[in-house]
């Protein structure tokens, strides 16, 4: 024991800890040597491409149960990250959960935007590609309306689309979607809403010059911003966190699958990124009905279809208040909020939340089918 300090690590304890660590590493090394890339495949639920335009493609998931929701549902992820989060692995998959509950499911894949896509705007994505996906889906099913399931930035896309074309949307489910981009100041929780704060610390000219220099919002740049939001987790991820799971097959594979998803971070097209950062994060135009798409203001009161708004109670990227702000603005009385435990990604992959999320969405859709 050391006088004046509470640290009491005896040599035998140190040896014991070191031995346990050694065994752990040895088991981890053995496991790692057996693994192949296919063992950590993500987004494996079978699906078929039914439509394609430029780099954007629309896919239909093969059903896993009898249909219980008549109207098809289109999953719309954003341009930051990829939709594969909704289908990370077989036992942690919103996609599979919904399919098993009889939902007819589609997903739009935005592809891998490059510098050549610098000039694409949110108008192109929302009114153009998304609109065309919905038209293709309507035509395929012979229906006038479809259900939309927006995730994060994709939720902003579906919100804008639903406000601009309410006649084509039967119901809208939003998950972890920012609507009031200054809503981070409501709770002001430590470590929450850093992207909001960081973006507001820049000037509009900074954003313009960033896009001028890189042509897009580089995926690795956004990855760094996300890493800063959990500083100690980032610091320890590849040493202590990895050591925690390295000898447990299931946990280790989960870790690697999550890494695979994190590494697959597409670039965000430049002009669309300017709108995202300046019009929404800085000027907060969406909640104020001032955000313009193809010359039309997005008026949230035009959202007259049923809305299910799901948010994560501990979401440090999209603080709950930024999502909940939608409730006071929509033009429908059929508005439901669902608060789930966990954080931004945990809602989709966390043991408890991901099961709750799938059944809550399926039930909500079925009740309105």
């Amino acid at each position: 024991m050391t006088n004046g300090t509470p640290v009491h690590i005896k040599p035998e304890q140190a040896i014991s800890e070191a031995a346990a660590l050694g065994e752990k590493i040895a088991r981890g090394v053995a496991l790692f040597s057996k693994l192949r890339d296919e063992d950590v495949a993500i987004a494996t639920t079978p699906k078929d491409e039914i439509w394609r335009q430029d780099k954007v493609s629309l896919h239909h998931y093969r059903p896993l149960a009898d249909k219980k929701v008549a109207t098809p549902v289109l999953i719309v992820y954003g341009l930051i990250g990829r939709y594969t989060m909704a289908d990370l692995q077989e036992d942690r998959s919103l996609v599979r959960n919904l399919l098993k509950l009889g939902v007819d499911l589609y997903v739009v894949d935005w592809g891998n935007p490059s510098r050549a896509d610098r000039w694409l705007t949110l108008d192109d994505y929302i009114d153009g590609y998304l609109g065309d996906c919905i038209a293709a889906l309507s035509e395929r099913h012979g229906v006038g309306k479809v259900n939309l399931l927006g995730i994060c930035e994709g939720g902003v896309f579906t919100t804008c689309y639903a406000a601009l074309h309410p006649q084509t949307v039967k119901g809208m489910v939003l998950t972890i979607t920012p609507i009031d981009f200054h809503g981070d100041t409501v709770e002001n929780r430590l470590g929450h809403g850093f992207i909001n704060l960081w973006t507001r610390s820049l000037t509009p000219e900074d954003v313009d010059r960033l896009i001028e220099a890189y042509g897009n919002l580089p995926g690795e740049f956004m990855g760094s911003v996300f890493s800063q939001m959990t500083p100690m987790r980032t610091l320890m991820k590849y040493n202590l966190d990895l050591l925690e799971v390295v000898d447990d097959d299931k946990k280790f594979l989960n870790f690697l699958r999550m890494e695979k998803w994190l590494a697959d971070r597409p670039h965000h097209p430049g002009e669309a990124a300017k709108q995202w950062l300046k019009d929404l994060y800085q000027d907060n135009k969406l909640i104020n009905d001032a955000f313009m798409i193809n010359g039309q203001a997005v008026n949230l009161a035009n959202i007259t279809m049923p809305v299910l708004n799901v948010f994560a109670k501990d979401d440090h990227i999209i603080p709950p208040a930024t999502s909940q702000a939608l409730g006071a603005k929509v033009g429908t009385k059929d508005y439901t909020e669902l608060a789930l435990p966990g954080g931004h990604v945990g809602v989709f992959v966390g043991g408890k939340s991901q099961a709750l999320l799938g059944s809550a969405i399926a039930n909500w859709l079925a009740e309105r089918s």
């Binding site: 690590i9 660590l21 192109d124 035509e139 220099a213 890189y214 042509g215 500083p231 980032t234 610091l235």
Partner: protein
């Protein structure tokens, strides 16, 4: 490998990033000193080719000095904490703790933004192109400015580390007063992670942090644009398309595609009015059931 070796390996893993950081700092100081020395020895280039407002060796020196002062305090505190905790115990444990509380490790994990920006900005080395002196100096100035801003940002981070280390030491003392015991490396680490996380998150919300990070971003953009100007110069010289020309072409293609989509949509709407609605794929007879 013996258990002690594993423990050492773990400590090495922790400290490796820190060593790289320290080496990078040393290289940087040496390069900056060399650059400043050459500048004063050879005399300033022509006024048209060199903008003294941009090249700021004094600013760099000040940033360097501030960082070095803090760095020395941080190292001292780190050594004190480690020394107090390891006295009389296994040297392996002492080594491990020493590395965990080494401020180098702090930087290895938290300058991700800085590294990402630098990776994106530094791109190809253009050191052999001194015949285009003016552009090269602009490029060099932009590089110097980015180094300076990085140093300033690291100073802010180091202050956060000092705060965290101070708070950690205080917590340890309080635990000792209360006769509480930390019996394993894991427990010590958990306390440190908790303390450090709070300090870092507080720092990230501060005006100083946000300002210094913004300055790094701006400096990295300046460097990138200076590099692009250089690349455009050579592209034009050898008849290759410049970035600007390619952007123009891409803009035209995007606008044309937009028009095509608009026409396709108009055509689809006309067809829709003329055709009866299609049947749903694989539609079953009877009504769907609800849950």
């Amino acid at each position: 490998m013996t258990p002690f070796d594993y423990m050492k390996a773990m400590a090495e893993l922790w400290g490796r990033g820190g060593q790289e950081f320290a080496a990078a700092q040393q290289n940087f100081f040496a390069n900056a000193a060399k650059a400043a020395g050459q500048e004063s020895a050879s005399g300033a280039p022509s006024a048209g080719a060199f903008d003294p407002q941009v090249f700021d060796p004094q600013g760099l020196t000040q940033a360097n000095r501030a960082f070095a002062k803090l760095w020395s305090s941080a190292i001292e505190m780190s050594q004190t904490i480690s020394r107090n905790m390891q006295a009389g115990e296994s040297p392996v444990v002492g080594e491990l703790l020493g590395k965990i509380f080494n401020p180098c490790g702090w930087f290895s994990g938290t300058d991700g933004m800085d590294q990402a920006l630098q990776r994106m900005a530094e791109g190809p080395r253009l050191a052999d192109m001194w015949d285009t002196e003016r552009k090269m100096l602009t490029l060099f100035n932009a590089w110097t400015a980015l180094r300076r801003r990085s140093l300033e940002h690291n100073t802010v981070m180091l202050e956060a580390w000092l705060q965290a280390a101070g708070k950690f030491a205080k917590d340890l003392n309080e635990k000792a007063d209360r006769k509480e015991v930390l019996g394993s490396c894991r427990e010590i680490l958990a306390l440190w992670v908790d303390t450090a996380n709070s300090a870092l998150l507080e720092t990230q919300r501060s005006e100083r942090y946000l300002t210094s990070q913004r300055e790094i971003l701006k400096a990295s953009i300046d460097l990138r644009l200076a590099q692009q100007e250089m690349a455009a110069f050579y592209s034009e010289m050898f008849g290759y398309p410049t970035r600007e020309e390619l952007d123009d072409v891409h803009r035209v293609v995007t606008e044309l595609r937009r028009e095509v989509r608009k026409l396709q949509r108009a055509s689809r709407d006309v067809q829709k009015k003329e055709m009866p609605p299609a049947k749903a794929p694989g539609a079953r007879k009877g009504r769907s059931t609800s849950l």
